[in-house]
C-alpha cells in the first residue's frame, strides 16, 4: 500500500517534471515521489495550482486539507473510482429502509465496542484492574440487538465509549489526566492527542471510501451530514481504538510525548510542531504495519484494512451478502 505524505510548513507545492515539488517559505525544496503516494496531507498554508491537481488526479493521489486547530477542512479526490450511480442508489436504499439501516449501524457499534474491548483487555492483563470497564462494555454489547432505533443505538455506543474512556486515566500517568472527552477545542493534552489522531483516522477513511465509489456523505450510524462526510465517521469509529488510542497510550507511557509537546492557549491545548511530528511519524508507521489476514491469506497493512472495510460495506450494499464489521483479531 502506498504511503501518506504530510506537509506542515507553509509554502507551495507544484508539479515539477514528473514529480511533485514542495518549496517551503524559507526556500527549502523537497520532492514527493508521486508513484508511492496514497495521499498528501496539507497542515500548513500551502499554495497550489490546477496543473498540480490534474497531475495528482492522473496518479490517483488524494489531497487532504487541515485548517485551524488541526481540523479537517476538505479533500481533493482523484476522479477515478468515484462515479457509480448504482452504488449510490443502493447506499441510499439501505439508508432509507429502517431495518437495513439499523442492521448496518448495529454492526458498526458492535465492531467499535469489540475494538475498544481489545484495548481494555490488553491493559487489564498488565497490572491494571479494568474489570468494571469490561463489564460495562459487555453490558453495552448485550443491549445492541434489542435497540429499536438509531438514537437508542447511539445511546449504547455513547455509554460504551464513556466506560471505555475511563480506562485512559487509569492507564496514563497522572501528569496526563484525561477527565472526559472534550473537543472544539481540546482542553488538555490527552484530548488534543485524541483529536489529532482521530482527525487522521477520519481523513484516511475518506480516502478509502472515495476509492470505492461509495458516497462518503451517506451513512448509517451517524446521521448523513450536511457538511461532514458522515460515512467516514461510521467507519472511523471502528478504527480509532486501533489507530489512535493504542498509539497514544504507547507514546505517553514511553515518554516519547511529554507535556513540552503541547502549546496551551486560553481554554485549549494543541500539539506543537515537535509533538505533531512525533505523533505523525508513529501514526504513519502504524498504518504501514501489516498483519496476516485470515480470509485473504496474505499480509495486509493497517491502512489497507480501511479500504477493505469500504469494500465490505459496498459488497453488502450491492449484493445483500452480510456485512461483518472490522474486529481486531490479533
Amino acid at each position: 500500500m502506498d504511503r501518506n505524505y504530510h506537509i506542515f510548513s507553509d509554502g507551495r507545492i507544484e508539479r515539477s517534471e514528473d514529480t511533485v515539488r514542495l518549496e517551503t517559505i524559507d526556500g527549502e525544496k523537497k520532492h514527493i515521489p508521486v508513484e508511492h503516494a496514497e495521499a498528501i496531507y496539507l497542515h500548513g498554508q500551502i499554495d497550489y495550482n490546477t496543473r498540480l491537481m490534474s497531475f495528482l488526479n492522473d496518479h490517483g493521489v488524494a489531497v487532504h486539507v487541515f485548517g485551524w486547530n488541526d481540523r479537517y477542512a476538505g479533500s481533493l479526490m482523484p476522479e477515478r473510482g468515484q462515479t457509480s450511480g448504482r452504488t449510490v442508489v443502493e447506499q441510499v436504499r439501505a439508508y432509507d429502509d429502517p431495518e437495513r439501516r439499523q442492521t448496518i449501524a448495529a454492526s458498526f457499534v458492535r465492531g467499535s465496542i469489540h475494538n475498544m474491548r481489545t484495548n481494555v483487555t490488553y491493559y487489564n492483563s498488565r497490572d491494571y484492574d479494568l474489570g468494571r470497564v469490561l463489564e460495562d462494555l459487555d453490558d453495552a454489547v448485550s443491549r445492541i440487538d434489542s435497540t429499536k432505533d438509531i438514537s437508542e443505538l447511539m445511546g449504547v455506543e455513547a455509554t460504551a465509549r464513556r466506560a471505555y474512556y475511563r480506562t485512559f486515566d487509569t492507564v496514563l500517568p497522572d501528569s496526563f489526566s484525561f477527565d472526559s472527552r472534550e473537543y472544539n477545542p481540546p482542553p488538555n493534552p490527552v484530548n488534543a492527542l485524541i483529536s489529532f489522531g482521530n482527525s487522521l483516522v477520519y481523513a484516511n477513511c475518506v480516502s478509502a471510501i472515495r476509492a470505492t465509489a461509495l458516497d462518503p456523505a451517506i451513512s448509517y450510524l451517524h446521521e448523513p451530514g450536511e457538511r461532514r462526510y458522515s460515512l467516514s465517521l461510521d467507519i472511523a469509529d471502528l478504527f480509532k481504538p486501533v489507530l489512535t488510542d493504542r498509539l497514544l497510550f504507547r507514546l505517553v507511557n514511553r515518554r516519547q510525548i511529554s507535556r513540552d509537546d503541547f502549546r496551551n492557549e486560553v481554554g485549549s491545548c494543541l500539539l506543537n510542531e515537535a509533538g505533531r511530528t512525533t505523533f505523525l511519524k508513529e501514526f504513519e508507521q502504524t498504518l504501514e504495519r501489516t498483519v496476516e489476514h485470515p480470509e485473504l491469506n496474505r499480509k495486509v497493512s493497517y491502512q489497507y484494512l480501511l479500504r477493505l472495510e469500504a469494500y465490505k460495506l459496498k459488497k453488502h450494499l450491492l449484493t445483500g451478502e452480510p456485512y461483518e464489521p472490522f474486529k481486531r483479531w490479533w
Binding site: R80, G81, S84, R86, E295, L308, Y311, T319, G320
Partner: protein, 182 residues
C-alpha cells in the same frame, strides 16, 4: 428450452429492443466461463480498483504485441474484436492459461457476426507471448454452446443477487479477490 434471451439479444443488436435491451459483450461471454460471480459484478459495473498484476498484463499484451494494427478499435455493435487479419477475427490473450473462456469469447464474436451482420468468418486465438495460434470456427456444436451460454448469462445478470463465491485456482489473481473473500 425457451430461446427468449437469444431472441432478445438479436433484437437488441438490431435496435428493436430499446425498451428492454439485453446486451452480451465479449468480455461477459469470457467471464461466464471464468467465473459467474465476476460476470454478475461486471454486468453491474461494480469496479474494484485493486492494483492488479494480471489485469495490467492483459492490457499490455493487447497494446504492444500487434503494434499499430490494434489502434483500429473495432466496434461492431455489442462486440469489439481485437482485430481482423486476412478477413479473420483474431483474439489475443496473454497466456493460454484460460483457453476455453477465450475460445468461447471468440466463438461468440463469430456467432454475432454471423447472426447479426450475416458475415461468416473464421477465427484465430493467438497467444503472442507463447507464439501459439489456434484456429477456431463456428460449427454446429459451438453455435449451440454460444446460444446456451447466452441463456445462462441472461439468468445470471438478471438475478437479484450474485452467485456465491467459489474458490477457483485463479481467484488470487482476480481483481475482485478482496471483494469476494473478506
Amino acid at each position: 428450452m425457451s430461446d427468449g434471451p437469444v431472441t432478445r439479444l438479436l433484437a437488441t443488436a438490431r435496435g428493436d429492443a430499446v425498451d428492454d435491451p439485453f446486451r452480451v459483450t465479449g468480455v461477459m461471454m469470457q467471464y461466464y466461463y471464468v467465473c459467474e460471480r465476476e460476470l454478475w459484478f461486471e454486468s453491474r459495473n461494480i469496479e474494484i480498483d485493486r492494483e492488479n498484476a494480471s489485469v495490467a498484463r492483459g492490457t499490455r499484451v493487447d497494446e504492444s504485441s500487434y503494434g499499430e494494427r490494434t489502434q483500429e478499435n473495432l466496434r461492431l455493435g455489442m462486440i469489439s474484436p481485437d482485430l481482423l487479419e486476412d478477413g479473420r477475427v483474431v483474439e489475443v490473450k496473454p497466456s493460454s492459461a484460460l483457453t476455453e473462456p477465450a475460445r468461447m469469447q471468440l466463438s461468440y464474436y463469430l456467432w454475432y457476426l454471423d447472426r447479426v451482420m450475416d458475415v461468416q468468418r473464421e477465427g484465430v486465438l493467438a497467444h503472442p507471448t507463447e507464439r501459439r495460434r489456434e484456429e477456431v470456427s463456428l460449427d454446429e456444436d459451438r453455435r449451440e454452446k454460444v446460444e446456451s451460454a447466452i441463456r445462462s448469462i441472461h439468468a445470471i445478470v438478471t438475478a437479484e443477487r450474485p452467485p456465491e463465491a467459489t474458490e477457483k485456482p485463479y481467484c488470487e489473481s482476480c481483481a475482485y479477490y478482496d471483494f469476494c473473500w473478506v
